[in-house]
Each structure stands twice: as structure tokens, then as C-alpha cells.
Amino acid sequence: MPEPANQGGTNLFTVLVADDNDVAQRLCKRVLEKAGYSVIVAMDGLQAVDVALSQRPSMILMDVAMPGIDGLEAMRRIKAELPTMPIVIASAHSMASDTDRFLAAGADKVLSKPFRLADLVAIVAKLAQEKKVQEKVQDGK
């Protein structure tokens, strides 16, 4: 497996925020950067697929309702290439049925909008921790 270009150090955990909403994008970027993560953004589904495949972020925070292809289609395409890529669906479609729908579509986690900042950070931190453990296991071999 080739190493992602911007994932040189183990501490550098990169989150791709894919959201067509400017405000939501800014919020996530601000909160996650403050929490010590690297953030890259995409404005719609197609862009998200492009960025995900080209830059190989550590995880993706994906909105659903986006122009062009929606978040779920983008996720399907990304998972097809990168099956282990952790993808968190962050959607204002936040009814119980929606959550089930997203998980069924292959999401690792679902984050309902609006969200508490701590929840966003906790989800990302958890994934970052899992990644770290995974890498240690790999290193320990």
C-alpha cells in the first residue's frame, strides 16, 4: 500500500471535510484544526472523491445533501477504491431512519447536524486513536 503523500508523520491526522455549506465547512475546519488535526475541504461529492483518492486523508467527514453526486454516492465510490477509509456521515438528515440508512450504505460513524463540538472532536479523536493503535500493531510486527 503506497504511503499517502501528506501522511508522513504518525501524529499528522488529516480530516477531509466534504460539505457544500460554507458555514458548516468553516466550523468543522476551525474546530478540528484547534483539536490538532489537519483539515482539507471539498465543496461537493465529486470533489470529495477526487480529493479522497488523490490525497488519502486519514478520514472523511461527509455531508449528504450536496450538488452533483451526493455524499452517499461519493462514499460508495471512495470505499470502492479505499475500503478501509473511515468515513463519518455528517448530515442534517438526522432522523433515526436516516442514520440506519447511512450505516447501511457503509458509513463508519454518523454525526447528526447540528452537533455539539465535543461530539465532533470525540468521533475524530476516536478514529485517530484507532488508527494509531493499528499503526502500532503494524510497527510492532
Partner: protein, 785 residues
């Protein structure tokens, strides 16, 4: 003898002269006596000759003896005297004799005439008689006595009325009265008279007043002819005519038979008639029908007959059955070959006659005829009865067939007439031939109206319905009896559902002759099922609508909550950041801006949603007034230009555009919304053109931009709620997603129409129409949508 008389006279004279030499004294009387006798006996000439001879004889002796001339003269004188006397005597005698002869001749003539008359009277073929003032027979000829069956001695004790049948007496009495009074001189009639043996004889009577020589006694001359043969022939003819009349009268056998039997009796002067029918197995003849005149004893005879079964060949009837030939016993007292001869005679029946009833060459029964009087059977009567038997036999068969047909026909007629189902009979050309009451009451037509107007409509409707069901038309000779349901109006205008079931009825060659159509009113059934189907359909629709509504509601809720939560994401997130503190003042201000914008967006969203809800539920009130569209457009341009927009505005307004009718504020909302959209989706340097012009009864307004344009797959949805154009560069352009939906609602509420033309990369053009105010446009045009 007569010839000898003169000779005897002469001899006598000579004898006397010779014997006595008597003188003239003796000779004279002797001479005169001789002359008288001669004249009485002989003709005149002979008498004269005798007288001369006798005179000579008397004169001769004196002459012989006369010596003297005197004596001679005396003798001559004597002779002359004698002859003269003789001539006188002869003349007288001759005259007397002539008279007597004439009288004698006349008497002889009268006698001869009377004899001739008597002969004629007796020999006459007609009965002749004189009756006196009391009606008593005076002189009756033999013929009349024969006609009346009475002796000539007996008749003078009877009156003409006494020998006339009771029924004819009155008219006869009346006629006699008129004859006697001299009102009439002759009266003729046919009547019945009663013979000595009590039988009736038909006679033709002519009575005239006889010329009477002796006053006081008015005699009537009665002339009678026995018209029995004529009557009998008439009777036979009338009998046959009567039988045929009954046969063709259209009666059934049961109805006709009393008339037939009664007719036979009255025409043939009979008293009782019975129809004996052969059993099915042809074992016996039994009485089936009877007729008789009112008389004592007939009932018993009839009862006895009814209890009798006559085997073939037995007795008179058995023989008739067996032989098929008429048979008769003219006088029952003389023959015993008749099964109930004694009973018949006890009933006063003395003559019997029977003839076979033949059908298709088979004797199927016999008719027995009985008469009280001894009755002669003639050949022509036998012929007539044989013919009658055949005709009656044919009639029985026809009647049986006809009765079966009638029964069948009656059954069908009853079905036709009483059926609650409508039935019509249709001819080969589709014309209505017959229609039962059910049809007429169902459709409220009389037959004529039904035939002329309602039926052709029904026929057409049938054919159309049949065509839809891929069936044959009505007249194509349907035999399957398939049904078609059609809609038809009654005369009263009530609409019915009719079920028509057609069956073609073939003629004897198997070709369809006519069609029977059963017509049922299935309105109730149909309406019930229609209502049921309708109810089910509406239930289904309601369910579908509910589902759809539910779905729409869910979808709407999902969209709205998504919109709200999206806006809230920023508000909640950034406000949380601010709350947690530790931010630069610059950051706080920026985040406050985000929060404000999203809060504002939520507010607008709520406003638009409430607007739309009011419009869609019809609760939005419109203040209708005169609006100058050009003014609205100019103001919109003015307002939009004051902003920081880098878009160029252009107005292309028709100065002659009439005033429109509408709610000014709402129209401003429409125009502003479209202008804002145009600006939003136009890059810097773009141009937005507002134009107006009249279009029929409408003002046509267009807002054209040189912006991004709308993709073909999205253009159909731009007026749907929350359908924001998000593709490409448009994705970041804010909006509630309800603006165009509201615009469309407002335009349509004004009675106008909105549509969009667009090409990606070239821009979009939104057009809408608003009706012109009333004074400038007709209401019809205003309603155009």
C-alpha cells in the same frame, strides 16, 4: 127398330083397311097416331115420307074402289088433308124434339165438364180442397188426403188449422181472417202440417177466396204441395253449410261439437245426436259428446249410452266403425240389430242413423243420430253425411293440432305479456315488430313512440356496445344470447342501464327470421356496483392521496428539518465556540456574522413557508386593484441598482401597456424575487433585462439574465419547493428554495402563468403574464390561463 116403325105403320093401316074396310073415321085417328109416332121417332124427312106413304096407302083403296070422280076427288082431298095434318104434326113434333135434344145436349155437356173437372182435381199433383167459413175441409182431393195422411172421410170433421203444426197455426189463422174479410184474396206460405200419424209434413200452401154462387157461404180454395223433397234437399245443403260454418269458425273441437251435433239434428229433423269416439287402443267406441232436444226420456238414453262401450263390428255403430260406411235403421220397431233399441224406443226414438268420422282414412269415431219419427234415409243424405264425416275428422285433427299450438302460443303469449323482463321482437331489418308491456313501462313509451324513436336509438347503442365488446351487431344473427349493457333514457328523461340479450329466431329454412331481445333494467344493480366501484376507487384514491400526502408531508418535514438543521449547524457550532471563549475578537465578530446570517435565513425560511402555506390553502387575501406593471418593473430596477451589484440592468418596457388588475405588493414580490434570482445567478458584468408588453388580454413580463442558466434536467423542477439550482457554480448561492414556488403561486392567483426558458452558460428568461384590468380586456380574455 126406328126404321121398322113406318113400315109397321103402313102395314097397320093396310091391315085395318083391309080388315074392316073402315072409313075415314077410323083411318084418321090411326093415321095421325102413326104420324105422331113416326115424328117422335124419325127424322123430319123420314116422317114426311112416311106421312106421304101412309096417306097414299089410305087413299089407294078408295081410289081403287072409286067409280065416280067424286069419290076420287074426295079421296084426293082426304089425302091432302091427311098430308097437311101430318106435316103440321111433324113440324110440331120436330120442334119439340129439337128443343128436347138441345136441353139434353146441354145437360150432357155439363155432366161431361163436371166429370173432367173432377178428374183433373183428382189427378192434380197438388192437393186441392175447399174449406168453409169455419175452416172445415169441404172437398178434398186425393192428393191432399195423401199429403195430410188422412182419409177423405175424416177430413170434413177437421179444420185446416187443426191439421197445421202448432207453431204455424197463428199465422195461418191470421191469414184466414184476412181472406174471409176480403182484405186479401190470396195467401201463400210454407208451413208444416200434421199428418194422421202425427208426423210433420212441410207443405207449400196457397189459399184463395173461391167465387161463390150461393151467398152466405164463403169458401176458400186451398192448394197444397208436399215440399218434403225440397225441404230435405235444403236441409241437407243447409246441414253441410252449417257443418262447414262451424268448422271454419275458429272454434276448438270441444267448443264446436255441440254446435255440430245440434246443427245436424235441426237440419235433418232429428232429436238426438251422439259422438262416439274410438279409444286410443281402438278397443271400443265411447260417447264423448251428445246433443238432444228437450224431451223426456232422452236423459236416461244418454246416461245409458255413456255407460256403454261398443266393440268394433258390434251393432249399428260397431259396423259403421268397422266399415266406414253410413248405416241406418229407419224403423227401430222392425229391426233388433241395435244395442239399445228398447231404450231408444222407450225414449220415443224410432229411427237411427250413424255415419263415420274419418281422419286420414281411419275411422276415429261415429256420429249417431236418432229421430222420434220413422225416418227414411235417402242416398243424397248418405253422401252428405259421408262427406261431413270426413270434414269433421279433418277438423278434429286440425283442432287437436291447433289446440296444441294455441296452448303453446298461449303459454308464450303469457310469458311475453306478463314477464317482468322486457321482451321485444325485431324484424329482419331491425324494425321493432312487437314489444311487451314490461318494455313500454320500463322506458315510459307507448308502442308507436317506442317503435319510431326509442328503438332505433337502442339498436344503435346496442351495436356500439357490442362493437366495444367485439361482438356481432344485433342483426348479425346472434344465437349465443350474449348480453350487452347500454345506457338509455326513458321518455321521462330518466337514465337507465339496460341489459340487452338477443336471440335470433330462425325461420323454417334456418335463416334468421327475427330477433328476440330481452331487455332488463339493471340500473339498480349497475348503479350499486358502480357506486361500490366508485366508493372503492375513491377509497383507494383517498388512501393513495393519504399515502401521498403522508409521503409529501414526511418529505416536506424531512426537507424543512434538513434546511433548519443545516442553518442551525452553523448557529449552534459557532455560538458554542463563542461561549467556550478563548477567541480573538476578530473571530467572534466573524462567527457572529455567520450566526446572524443563518438565523436570518431561518427566519426567511419560516416566512416563506408560512406565505406558501397561506397561498396553497387559499387563506392568503389579495388586495385587487389597478397596477401599472411598468412602474413596478422600474422600481425593481431602481432598488436592485442601488445595491453593490456588479450587474447591469436594462428596461424594455411597452409604454402603451394597459393597467393590469392585481395586488401591487404581491406583484412587487414576484418581480423582486425574479430580479434577485437573476442577480444571484449572474456573474459580475452580467446583464439583467426587464421587459413588458401586451399579449392579448395580458401583460407579459420577462426577466432575462445572462447568468449561469439552468440545466435541462433541473429546468422542469425550478418551481418546486426546495429545488434550488445547485449544480456547478450555483451551488453556493443562498436561498430558501421556496422563492420561485411562491412566485408561481402569486402569478397563478392573479390568473396568469409563469414559465422559464434557459440555456446553461447563456442565462435564463423567466416570463409571466398578468391579466389586464377590466376596461382594457374582455372577461373572457382575462380568464385565459
Amino acid at each position: 127398330m126406328r126404321q121398322a116403325t113406318p113400315l109397321a105403320a103402313i102395314a097397320a093401316v093396310f091391315a085395318v083397311e083391309a080388315a074392316a074396310g073402315a072409313g075415314p073415321v077410323l083411318v084418321f085417328p090411326l093415321y095421325l097416331t102413326i104420324i105422331l109416332l113416326t115424328a117422335l121417332q124419325l127424322s123430319r124427312a123420314e116422317s114426311l115420307a112416311t106421312a106421304v106413304l101412309v096417306a097414299i096407302a089410305i087413299v089407294i083403296p078408295p081410289l081403287v074402289r072409286a067409280d065416280q070422280p067424286g069419290d076420287i076427288a074426295t079421296a084426293v082431298l082426304l089425302a091432302v088433308v091427311l098430308i097437311a095434318a101430318a106435316v103440321a104434326i111433324i113440324a110440331v113434333v120436330s120442334q119439340v124434339r129439337q128443343k128436347a135434344a138441345t136441353a139434353q145436349r146441354r145437360a150432357d155437356e155439363i155432366a161431361a165438364s163436371e166429370e173432367r173437372m173432377r178428374m183433373m182435381l183428382e189427378a192434380a199433383m197438388v192437393g186441392l180442397a175447399l174449406v168453409d167459413g169455419d175452416g172445415k175441409w169441404q172437398q178434398v182431393n186425393d192428393r191432399l188426403a195423401v199429403i195430410l195422411g188422412r182419409s177423405r172421410d175424416e177430413l170434413p170433421n177437421l179444420t185446416i188449422e187443426e191439421v197445421t203444426e202448432e207453431a204455424d197455426r197463428e199465422v195461418l189463422g191470421e191469414a184466414l181472417g184476412h181472406l174471409r174479410s176480403g182484405d186479401i184474396v190470396r195467401w201463400e206460405a210454407d208451413l208444416y202440417q200434421v199428418r194422421g200419424d202425427g208426423t210433420r209434413v212441410p207443405v207449400s200452401v196457397a189459399i184463395s177466396t173461391a167465387p161463390t154462387r150461393t151467398s152466405g157461404q164463403s169458401l176458400l180454395l186451398v192448394q197444397e204441395t208436399d215440399i218434403s223433397p225440397r225441404k230435405r234437399l235444403d236441409g241437407l245443403r243447409d246441414c253441410m253449410v252449417g257443418i262447414r260454418h262451424v268448422i271454419v269458425s275458429g272454434l276448438t273441437w270441444e267448443q264446436a261439437v255441440p254446435q255440430l251435433l245440434g246443427g245436424l239434428c235441426s237440419h235433418l229433423d232429428l232429436d238426438l245426436a251422439q259422438f262416439w269416439a274410438a279409444d286410443h287402443d281402438r278397443q271400443a267406441l265411447r260417447v264423448r259428446h251428445y246433443w238432444h232436444r228437450e224431451a223426456a226420456g232422452f236423459e236416461a238414453f244418454r246416461e245409458e249410452s255413456r255407460a256403454t262401450a261398443i266393440p268394433m263390428g258390434s251393432g249399428l255403430l260397431g259396423r259403421v266403425w268397422q266399415s266406414g260406411v253410413v248405416a241406418a235403421i229407419e224403423d227401430l220397431s222392425r229391426v233388433s240389430d241395435y244395442s239399445h233399441s228398447d231404450l231408444a224406443r222407450a225414449a220415443g226414438l224410432n229411427s237411427v242413423l250413424a255415419f263415420p268420422v274419418v281422419e286420414s282414412g281411419v275411422v276415429i269415431g261415429a256420429i249417431e243420430l236418432l229421430a222420434r219419427h220413422v225416418r227414411e234415409v235417402q242416398d243424397d243424405e248418405v253422401t252428405m253425411l259421408s262427406t261431413a264425416g270426413v270434414e269433421i275428422g279433418q277438423f278434429i285433427r286440425r283442432s287437436d293440432t291447433a289446440q296444441a299450438l294455441r296452448r303453446s302460443e298461449a303459454d308464450h303469449r303469457a310469458i311475453f305479456e306478463r314477464s317482468p323482463i322486457g321482451i321485444v321482437r325485431v324484424g329482419g331489418d331491425g324494425e321493432l315488430v312487437e314489444s311487451n308491456p314490461a318494455v313500454l313501462s320500463m322506458l315510459e313509451y307507448d308502442f308507436e313512440a317506442m317503435r319510431s324513436s326509442a328503438w332505433p336509438d337502442l339498436l344503435r347503442a346496442y351495436d356500439q356496445a357490442a362493437a366495444r365488446q367485439q361482438m356481432a351487431p344485433l342483426l348479425a344473427g346472434i344465437t349465443s344470447g350474449s348480453s350487452v349493457q347500454i345506457r338509455a333514457a326513458t321518455a321521462g328523461g330518466k337514465w337507465l342501464w339496460l341489459q340487452l340479450t338477443a336471440t335470433s329466431i330462425p325461420d323454417s329454412n334456418g335463416r334468421p327470421e327475427h330477433v328476440l331481445v330481452m331487455i332488463e333494467d339493471v340500473t339498480t344493480v349497475r348503479e350499486t356496483s358502480d357506486q361500490l366501484a366508485e366508493a372503492l376507487e375513491s377509497q383507494r384514491n383517498a388512501n393513495a392521496n393519504l399515502e401521498k400526502l403522508d409521503h409529501t408531508k414526511t418529505e416536506f418535514l424531512s426537507i424543512v428539518s434538513h434546511e433548519f438543521r443545516t442553518a442551525l449547524t452553523g448557529i449552534q457550532g459557532f455560538s458554542e465556540l463563542i461561549r467556550d471563549g478563548g477567541l480573538e475578537a476578530e473571530e467572534v465578530r466573524a462567527y457572529g456574522g455567520y450566526i446572524f446570517n443563518d438565523a436570518d435565513r431561518i427566519n426567511r425560511l419560516i416566512g416563506d413557508m408560512l406565505d406558501l402555506d397561506r397561498m396553497e390553502s387559499g387563506r392568503m387575501s389579495m388586495r385587487s386593484g389597478d397596477v401599472d406593471i411598468n412602474e413596478v418593473l422600474s422600481e425593481a430596477i431602481e432598488r436592485a441598482s442601488t445595491g453593490l451589484s456588479a450587474v447591469e440592468f436594462e428596461a424594455d418596457l411597452d409604454p402603451r401597456l394597459p393597467i393590469v388588475s392585481g395586488d401591487r405588493d404581491r406583484l412587487i414580490q414576484v418581480v423582486s424575487n425574479l430580479v434577485n434570482n437573476a442577480v444571484k445567478y449572474s456573474p459580475d458584468g452580467g446583464r439583467v433585462t426587464l421587459s413588458s408588453r401586451g399579449d392579448g388580454g395580458f401583460a407579459l413580463v420577462s426577466v432575462t439574465d445572462t447568468g449561469l442558466g439552468i440545466a435541462p434536467d433541473e429546468i422542469g423542477h425550478v418551481f418546486e419547493r426546495f429545488r434550488r439550482v445547485r449544480s456547478g457554480a450555483a451551488q453556493s448561492i443562498p436561498g430558501t428554495g421556496l422563492g420561485l414556488t411562491i412566485v408561481k403561486q402569486i402569478v397563478e392567483m392573479h390568473g396568469g402563468r409563469i414559465w422559464v426558458e434557459s440555456a446553461v452558460g447563456h442565462g435564463s428568461a423567466f416570463h409571466f403574464t398578468i391579466p389586464l384590468a377590466a376596461e382594457d380586456a374582455s372577461p373572457l380574455q382575462r380568464r385565459h390561463a
